[in-house]
């Protein structure tokens, strides 16, 4: 049996360390350590509540708009303010643009370059995969950044700049859209769709979204040369490597739902645990037993939570707290969202092999196709000249919660206002859920479970299987701890 410490993981957002116990060529136990603490929940205390709109996006440079959205929703909730239809549409567009840019960044920049590593050089699929996906010098590395950058012109128009925008306000958007700008948005989205349909999928978005089972996906892949699209290329490598047998966690999936329009959400809110379940947010707690945090004996709901770092806490091995839903570990992310929402392809894949590396990546690409189609609809529904932003007044004593789905999963902000100032501000980010440490029952978090059973080759100090599993979650470590 060996104990190794793996890090730094790069091609994740922020810094990450993982300790592994290895026996008989596989991981038997894992501990996830978020080694960076900045203290936003402490920084926010005492401030004007509106300052949360400026400060919380700086939690994260890759999910900045998601943080803004959660803060705006929390402030709106605290004053019972609702957005006008144009405001809902433009804020959804900003959130979707960020989420999709993140899905692309994850696939091309963070995840796929591992297939070009020298450890795979002898594999029959290696040549084309390395040529396409190698970091910096692969052919994909020239094509996708300009497509993403051009897509983010949507953000430049709607949000001023990305990351870190203040266009997102509790009552809607500070940036009204004029008639000619609405047409520009359609043009920008159309070009992005063209890139996806040409290079990423090699097929129309409608065809991808219509895939309704694992068998249908296999027929789709078999009907075309494996390298004719980046999605197909991934499926080919994944099949060869057995990535559907790698990285299974709890198979308990949560989603706060996303893209609110009036009373409906594009993606449903809920919980999946061997079937659809009721999601009760009142049962969320953060356990501090294995975190470097001062804490009382009982885990608290974030509406009462406190953050006091304690470097010397004996059992603490990470700055990350352990969020639990009704005492249980859940996984969040695109896979969770699509499961809860009930997309037939994802339901079928998970029914066959659970939540694993392959299915996490497939879910992100599927969601990219689904949401791009929805964005087109939202832009068409914009009405220039109608209001984009409602206004309200925050009471001196108030509380609110802002729930949103960032690219990586469920994000929540819980705000308490006293005497007109922030009395408490607690954040639970998606990776806080996914990369949580053990709780007081010694139950490991999602990643810690997913790593168990990962094969380790002799002499490997940064096992490639572990890298695939970690990156399949697309952790955002700066959000995780904040």
């Amino acid at each position: 049996m060996a104990l190794i410490t793996v890090g730094p993981f790069n091609r994740v957002e922020g810094d990450l360390e993982v300790r592994l116990e290895i026996a008989d060529g596989q991981v038997t136990q894992a501990w996830a350590n978020a080694p960076l603490y900045r203290g936003f929940e402490q920084i926010l205390q005492g401030k004007d509540p509106r300052d949360a709109l400026v400060l919380t996006p700086r939690l994260c440079g890759i999910c900045s708009v998601s943080q803004s959205m959660a803060a705006a929703y929390a402030l709106a909730d605290a004053q019972n303010l609702h957005m006008p239809p144009n405001g809902e549409l433009t804020t959804n567009l900003m959130l979707a643009a960020e989420n999709l840019a993140d899905h692309l960044t994850h696939f091309y920049l963070f995840f796929m370059p591992d297939f070009a590593r020298a450890v795979y050089a002898a594999e029959p699929w290696y040549g084309p995969a390395a040529a396409r996906f190698r970091a910096n010098t692969g052919t994909a590395a020239r094509e996708w950044p300009p497509a993403r950058a051009q897509f983010l012109h949507l953000m430049g128009l709607l949000a001023g700049k990305w990351p870190h925008s203040l266009s997102l306000q509790p009552g809607g958007s500070a940036r009204p859209v004029q008639a000619q700008e609405r047409l520009r948005l359609l043009a920008i989205l159309g070009a992005f769709r063209r890139f996806l349909e040409t290079r990423t999928f090699g097929d129309t978005l409608d065809a991808i979204v219509a895939l309704d089972s694992g068998a249908a996906l296999e027929r789709w892949a078999a009907a075309r040369p494996p390298h004719s699209s980046d999605f197909g290329h991934f499926l080919h490598c994944s099949r060869q490597l057995g990535l559907d047998r790698l990285g299974r966690a709890t198979d308990r999936f949560m989603s706060f739902g996303n893209y609110l329009i009036g009373a409906r959400r594009l993606l449903r809110y809920g919980l999946w645990d061997q079937g659809p379940r009721h999601l009760d947010l009142a049962t969320i707690t953060e356990d501090l037993s294995h975190s470097r945090m001062l804490g009382g004996e009982a885990p608290l709901h974030p509406s009462q939570g406190v953050t006091l770092p304690d470097l010397d806490r004996p059992d603490g091995y990470t700055w990350c707290k352990a969020p639990r839903l009704d005492g249980q570990v859940v996984e969040v992310g695109a896979l969770a969202r699509q499961m809860v929402d009930g997309h037939p392809l994802i339901r079928d894949l998970v029914a066959h092999s659970g939540g694993n590396v392959q299915n996490r990546v497939i879910a992100r690409l599927l969601e990219t196709a689904r949401v791009t189609l929805a964005m087109d609809d939202w832009i068409r529904h914009l009405v220039p000249g109608e209001p984009f932003c409602n206004h309200g007044e925050l009471p001196d004593e108030a509380a609110g919660a802002g729930l949103v789905e960032a690219a990586r999963g469920s994000l929540g902000h819980w705000l308490r206002v006293r005497k007109g100032r922030i009395h408490g501000y607690q954040i639970i980010a998606p990776t806080t859920w996914n990369f949580s440490p053990r709780d007081r029952g010694n139950i490991p978090g999602a990643l810690e479970q997913a790593l168990v059973g990962a094969p380790v080759r002799p002499e490997e100090r940064t096992p490639i299987s572990v890298q695939h599993i970690v990156r399949s979650f697309d952790p955002c470590m700066v959000c995780t701890v904040h």
Partner: protein, 364 residues
Amino acid sequence: MRSNTHVFPVYSRSVTDNTHPMRNPDTNPMTPELVVLWLQSGGCGGCTLSLLGAESPDLTATLGGAGIRLLWHPSFSEASGEEVLELLDGAISGTRAFDVLCIEGAMLRGPRGTGRFHVLAGSDRPLIDWVRQLAARARYTVAVGTCAAFGGVTAAGTNPTDACGLQYEGARPGGLLGTDYRAGSGLPVINVAGCPTHPNWVTETLMALALDGLTADDLDAYRRPRMYADHLVHHGCTRNEFYEYKASARRHSDLGCMMEHLGCLGTQAHGDCNTRLWNGQGSCTRGGYACINCTAPEFEEPGHAFADTPSIAGIPIGLPTDMPKAWFVALASLSKAATPERLRRNAVTDHLAVPPAVRGTKPR
């Protein structure tokens, strides 16, 4: 920017490893290489994500064309785990040569001076220790973003992590490396400040280092490259007609000038945001919200809510740069008296309620 004499050596002393698997084919073989090592600490990674959006040309073409190679970057490079630690050890010992150390994110000195609010994964050593040793080897040290330059948002509020910049603590010189620190070229830390930085503030600074070098005269009083810092955000703001007449927005989504009521500091903020533009054709003010002066030290603590403009008797406390107060007050009153109806009404609506008049073609 440059005088006729080349003050600093143009050619890199880095060894070009022909067998290195990451050799960038975009690099012009005739251009000497500038090798960049990039680390992240107490920040959000937003400056890197902004950099990824570099356009016309994209990041790979921009860097490659200038002979700039990334030895390692946490988001862009293949190397992970022990490969990185070996590389960093080599950079410190001199076996892995590099020219530029880029640091993104604030330097976390706490708790209690230990630096252990950020321990580099896999190493059990605080990031600030790695930075001190690498900065001692660098020919140029660049702070990317306001966090790395001055402390930034990470140093806001009670600054629970004792965060600071590489060579500044807020507006005070010192920071992690101290006032006496100079990189191998003789320059202090170059502060490419911004929250986030515009991609081309970073690429053009690196290009300048690769092609002509930079002198202390190329940096302003806060050691920000004057190429972008010698401009005000006010230059090129699309709301300047409203500004002229002090036709002011009152609430978010109003079209008017945001200086009077919504906290805009564009008339004081150093940056070329409204001429260079972001993500196509955007900027903060074009996005409908105040400039919060994010290239400045201590912007994160303005002393009031960001969305407010503190004022006395209706006169904003922070005046436009270089403008004498008495003249500002006089001009402002005159402007307000002369405000055309179109501007007065459009300033407080969210769409063009009154379009500009169409005049006849004959001169009056």
